[in-house]
Symmetry: C2
Amino acid sequence: MSKKAVCIMSGGMDSTLGAYLMKERGYEVIAVHFNYDQRTEKKEREAFHAIADTLGATNKYDLDIGFFKELGASALTDRSIDVPVDGVEEGVPVTYVPFRNGIFLSMAAAISEKEGAEVICIGVVEEDSSGYPDCREAYITSMQESINLGTKESTNITIEMPLVHLKKSEIVLESLKHHVPLALTWSCYQNEDKACGVCDSCRLRLNGFEQAGEKDPLDYAID
Amino acid sequence: MSKKAVCIMSGGMDSTLGAYLMKERGYEVIAVHFNYDQRTEKKEREAFHAIADTLGATNKYDLDIGFFKELGASALTDRSIDVPVDGVEEGVPVTYVPFRNGIFLSMAAAISEKEGAEVICIGVVEEDSSGYPDCREAYITSMQESINLGTKESTNITIEMPLVHLKKSEIVLESLKHHVPLALTWSCYQNEDKACGVCDSCRLRLNGFEQAGEKDPLDYAID
C-alpha cells in the first residue's frame, strides 16, 4: 500500500504544484478543498475537481466551511470590503482571512488521522507572496509540532511545504517542468469568468509568468 | 475598555467553570460554541445559550461545523458507532473526535484576532478525563505558540486552561465555590432528556460529585 499525502488544494497554481510534487514522490493523493464563501468559490471548486482528477486522487474532500462568512473580517469573504486592485502593498492586506491556514491545517490533520496519512502538503509561499502571517515557514513548522502533540500517539504527520522558499517565477517554471495543468488552475480573487489581472493574486501570478519569460494560458480581462 | 476572553463553551461543567473564572478575573466574555452533529447537539446548544446569558457574555458565536459529520470516525458524530457505556477504559476511546480541539482553537484564534481578544479559555482536563490527546497541557501550550506565529504581529493570545490539572471532584467544588449554575450544564454524550449516567462523560461527572461529597442537580435515567 502506498503512503498517503493529504493535499490542501485551493485550485490555484501553488497548491496544484504542491500536489503534483507529492504525486511524483510516490504518494497517493488525498485531495482536500475548502469552500468558505470566498468571492470565487464556484470557480475554485471547479478547478479543484478538475485538477484532482488529473492527479488520480484516491479520495476527495470538498468541504464547506461557513465559519469565515460568519466571522467576516476579510475582503475575500465580506462583500462590503473591496478587493484591492492598485498593486501589492507592504504589510498584511485586507484580503487576509484570520488564521485561515490554521483552520485548514487543523482539518487536514483530522483527515490525516482518519485516513492514516503521513503527510499534509500545503502550497504556502513565504517571500514572494501576499504577506499573510499563516504562510510563514516558522508557523507551519510549529503547527506540525502542535498537530503531533494533539493527535494519537500512532499519528505522526509531516507537513510538506515544497514551495515555501520559491519565487513566483520559479513556481511557473517548476509547474511547466512537472506538467502541471496550469490552464485548469484559478488564482483571481474577484472574477469567475475572465481573471481580473489587477487583484494581488492576479498580479503576483502574472508577474511570475513575466519574470519566467512564459505565457499564462488563462484569459485576462485586461490586455 | 475591559480585556476580552474568547471562551470555548460546550455547555458542559468544565468549560462553564472556565468561563466563570475568566469573568471573575475581570475579562469581558465572548462565548463560543460549536455544533458538529454530535448526538446531543440540541441540548448542548441550549445549555450554552443559557450559561452565556448568566455570564453576561458581550458576544455569542453559535457556530455550525459540518466537517466532523463528513469526516465520521467518532462515536459522537457517527451513529453507526455505539457510545461505550461499560466504564471508562485506558487509551483513546471511540468517542475521540480527531483533532477536535485543534479545530476549535484555530477558529477561536480567528475570532480572537477579529475581536482583539487577549485570551482564549478552554476547559481541558488532562489527568482525570477521557484520555483525549488534544486535552493535554503540552499540546495546548504548543498550539498557543503556533497561533501567535500564524496571526498578525499585533495579535498576542494566551490560551488559559485553568482546569487542566484539576480532578473532577475539584471541578465540582470549584464550581460550587464560584456559583456556577451546574443545573444548566450538560455532559451526557447520548441523551437529551435525562442524562444516561453510564457513558464516559456521565461517569466522570458523577464520580466527581461523589468524591466531592456533593449531589449533582441533574436528573439521571439510572438511580
